[in-house]
């Protein structure tokens, strides 16, 4: 079945430590890939996106993501986490084919940051 999976529901890292949030997808053709961040009670902010080309994508707030076709993954990374990064992170796809008009989201990973 077509799906977007974020295996980690909740991750806690220390401030200054590195971060990797996992995302796997299951689609016949590589979909458009996105990472969004959501602070409590707020809307979603786009961190970065991947359509084609260079598999390492740079985003806002010091985030980057790497697309790996062989693993059907699009993991989000940050070298050094700040307390303000505490939020919920959503991986999302737009499947190629069809209307390409809607995002399909994973269930999210909640990030907590220890001082």
């Amino acid at each position: 079945a077509q799906s977007v999976t974020q295996p980690d529901i909740h991750i806690t890292v220390s401030e200054g430590a590195s971060l990797e949030l996992r995302c796997n997808y299951s689609y016949g053709a590589t979909p458009y890939l996105f990472w969004y961040v959501q602070s409590p009670g707020q809307g979603l902010q786009l961190l970065l996106k991947y359509f084609s080309g260079d598999t390492l994508v740079q985003g806002i707030k010091g985030f980057e993501a790497e697309f790996k076709r062989s693993q059907s993954s699009f993991n989000l990374r940050k070298p050094s986490v700040h307390w303000s990064d505490a939020a919920e992170y959503f991986c999302a796809v737009v499947p190629r084919g069809g209307s390409q008009g809607n995002l399909i989201f994973g269930k999210g990973t909640k990030l907590s940051v220890k001082p």
Binding site: G41, G43, Q45, L46, V94, G101, N102, G108
Partner: protein, 113 residues
Amino acid sequence: DAGVTQSPTHLIKTRGQQVTLRCSPISGHKSVSWYQQVLGQGPQFIFQYYEKEERGRGNFPDRFSARQFPNYSSELNVNALLLGDSALYLCASSLAGIVTEAFFGQGTRLTVV
């Protein structure tokens, strides 16, 4: 530049009532999509409107309806509210029908009691 604006920010309704949520997209954007986000879950697609026509619909009952106006703003209507309709309703705007970048509003928090 104004981003995506949604109103109201919060509201409380009683089971069986009807509710209308409003969204204004970013200037120049012609597509508006609606998503429902239940606590602890990712957003679920409800509708997409592009150039005032429904372009896509998610797996939601007919109690949910929407429309887009000539100025590209949009309304989401939910009839016969159920407790399970309590959620954050998010509006997203994009330039075109194919979503290559979507910008979200802050959402409307609906509580059904």
